[in-house]
């Protein structure tokens, strides 16, 4: 699949934004000023961006507890996201959701979701809407290797298949669910073998390779748009941080993490690939890098300076009528 120069620049910007957002969140969390739980997506950027670069605003995605990357890839703004993570006024969810519930329905982002396996049924529903209204839209549900074992996920695959829904099941297999290895928890080791069981096309791709993800997603999404039903994509990748901030990662060797940052970094791979092939040049990428770092400074400073939500907000938004 040919990818235009503009698309490449956009993809790089998106991946880099995710990376720097996560690095910044890690730093801010360490100060103790960031409330709640955070689960970082660093290392997995090519999955979110490789998939979402095929989507338009009206397509829907749904994410997991590890949701920042999917938000950014789907077009959520970094400033309101940072405000949300800090729990401040002006946050993407008014401070009511936090990291585990960032959402922006106006961007087709149906939310991070703190229930493992919570997303796939909902994505089937978004796909139903597209199918009934004949919009040509698709829905994508991102799920982890751990989440691939949840019954709600599995039955959603059957539902999507028998209803021929335009939904893509993207399984981000980062090797672990908390501290439990996917090579144990996923029977047979591979998630992709479940595609066949539910009679849908499935493919396993290297999640450090943006182009591989992009191509696989393109095919699946195109098929779905044309009425060809659901697909499964298993993306193998590595998370650079622990399960959540605070995880001591005793189940991985320090080398493992270090090596991953060197050898399994989607950004490094992307940069090497596009510069070696002279598709983009290093200087323009460097410029983007600088821009993004500035953007993070601005977003963080703004979030830290922002007021808290009013206490009266506790009582609003529960029903449509109050």
């Amino acid at each position: 699949m040919q990818v235009s120069r503009d698309k490449l620049l956009e993809a790089y910007r998106s991946m880099k934004t995710i990376r720097e957002f996560e690095e910044r969140v890690a730093k801010e969390f360490a100060t103790g000023d960031l409330p709640g739980f955070v689960h970082l997506y660093a290392g997995e950027e090519a999955s979110a961006v490789g998939v979402c670069s095929h989507l338009v605003k009206s397509d829907q995605i749904i994410s997991t507890h590890r949701g920042h990357g999917h938000c950014i890839a789907k077009g959520c703004e970094v400033g309101p996201m940072m405000l949300e993570l800090f729990g401040r006024k002006g946050g993407l969810c008014g401070g009511k959701g936090g990291s585990m519930h960032v959402a922006d329905l106006s961007q087709g982002m149906m939310g991070a979701n703190a229930i493992v396996g919570g997303g796939p049924p909902l994505a089937c529903g978004a796909a139903m809407t597209a199918k009934i209204k004949k919009t040509g839209g698709v829905a994508v549900t991102f799920t982890g290797d751990g989440g691939s074992n949840q019954g709600t996920t599995l039955e959603s695959m059957n539902l999507a298949s028998v209803m021929q829904l335009p939904v893509i099941f993207v399984f981000e297999n980062n090797g672990f669910a908390e501290s439990t290895a996917a090579n144990w928890s996923v029977a047979g080791g591979d998630i992709v073998r479940r595609a066949e069981a539910f009679a849908m096309p499935g493919v396993q791709v290297d999640g450090t390779d943006f182009f591989a993800v992009h191509e696989a997603a393109g095919e699946a999404i195109d098929r779905a748009r044309k009425g060809g039903g659901p697909s499964l994509i298993e993306v193998t990748l590595t998370r650079f941080y622990g399960h959540h901030q605070g995880d001591n990662q005793s189940y991985r060797t320090p080398d493992e993490v270090r090596n991953a940052r060197e050898s399994r970094c989607p950004l490094v791979n992307f940069r090497r690939r596009v510069t070696e092939a002279s598709l983009l040049d290093a200087a323009e990428l460097d410029a983007i890098d600088r821009e993004i770092l500035d953007q993070m400074d601005v977003a963080t400073a703004a979030a830290r300076a922002a007021p808290w939500p009013d206490a009266a907000e506790v009582l609003t938004d529960v029903y449509v009528t109050y």
Binding site: G97, A103, G111, G118, P121, L122, C124, A126, A127, T129
Partner: protein
């Protein structure tokens, strides 16, 4: 307004009229049309286990009347997802007893979207479900469980006691932009009342006063409203005049109507078919005990099943379920107290 319909027919008519009026309304569930996968079949094979969805499929087609596999999390979640992205899904949880395989989608997803997302989501889904005992359907097909849903912020709960209310409340539920759980007592499907042909809505949070009376207030829902009326007849013959109130929706709850009545009677019996702990009965009685304390002339009595599962055998089930006789006993005790 001479036409009579059963509650089953009234519910069916409500869905017909709303699907006609609004293209975004869809209906989903197991066997709601039935026969999916049988090539030669035309029309409804079942029309739902209770026939409540009969005729919808033939009229509106399988695109909008959607049979599902047995995977309640997936298809109720799908109804919720669809309703968050532009549809208005009416989805059947065949028996409320099955909530345990899909409750997450209802209570953590549908109920919380709007709040968690800072008011930026709407989820106009209606979950229709059967409740209640009386058919020897045993422990896993006879529960009420509406206290569990009423407990959850973000869900509205509707529990009609008759055909007229059912139609108006279901249409209201379909048009409401919050998730609504609509509980249908399986012993009431055949009960008939007059029901207007035209479409109409009944507001949530407005109790019905089924009978006026100045001695004792009885609050009762669904099938128990009928038991309460039966008891009230008996008691009237004894000179005890009961005011019978049917809350109709438990979330929102019409506290005012109940409180006004108790301010007048000073005596309250709450009848509830659900399990007795953390129940609807406890909820209402506690609310009144707090807000009408000074009016109460006697302790509030709750009439409820014992704290056990629902037994199968008919005489055991009869001993288990509240009935008019037990309600009348409770009313007599309350009426006597302190007088």
């Amino acid at each position: 307004m001479a036409r009579k319909l059963s509650m089953r027919q009234a519910i069916n008519e409500a869905m017909h009229q709303e699907m006609e009026r609004d293209e975004s309304v869809i209906v989903m569930g197991e066997d709601i049309m039935g026969g999916l996968g049988v090539d030669w079949l035309e029309g409804d094979a079942w029309g739902g286990t209770q026939g409540t969805t009969k005729g919808l499929g033939p009229r509106f087609g399988r695109d909008r009347v959607i049979d599902t596999p047995i995977s309640e999390s997936a298809f109720i979640g799908a109804a919720i997802g669809a309703s968050t992205t532009g549809m208005r899904a009416i989805v059947e949880l065949m028996y409320v007893d099955f909530l345990g395989v899909c409750f997450d989608q209802i209570f953590n997803q549908a109920a919380k979207f709007r709040y968690m997302f800072g008011g930026k989501a709407e989820c106009p889904v209606v979950v229709r479900t059967q409740i209640g005992g009386g058919f020897s359907a045993a422990a896993q097909h006879s529960q009420c469980l509406y206290p569990i849903f009423t407990h959850i912020p973000g869900l509205k709960c509707v529990i009609p006691s008759n055909a007229y209310d059912a139609k108006g409340l279901l249409i209201e539920a379909i048009r409401d932009n919050s998730p609504v759980i609509f509980f249908e007592h399986k012993k009431l499907y055949d009960a008939e009342t007059e029901v207007p042909e035209e479409s109409y809505t009944l507001p949530f949070g407005e109790a019905g006063i089924l009978r006026e009376g100045g001695d004792v207030t009885i609050v009762a829902l669904a099938r128990m409203a009928h038991m309460a009326m039966e008891a009230a007849e008996t008691l009237a013959a004894e000179g005890i005049e009961c005011e019978v109130i049917d809350p109709r929706t438990t979330s929102p709850m019409d506290e005012d109507t109940i409180l006004e009545s108790v301010e007048n009677t000073g005596r309250l019996v709450v009848v509830d078919e659900s399990y007795p702990r953390c129940s609807m009965g406890a909820d209402i009685s506690s609310m009144v005990a707090e807000k009408a304390f000074d009016s109460l002339k006697a302790p509030i009595r709750k009439v409820a099943p014992p704290h056990t599962p629902v037994p199968f055998s008919p005489p055991l089930e009869a001993a288990y379920l509240p009935d008019a006789a037990r309600i009348a006993d409770a009313v007599r005790a309350v009426a006597r107290h302190g007088s």
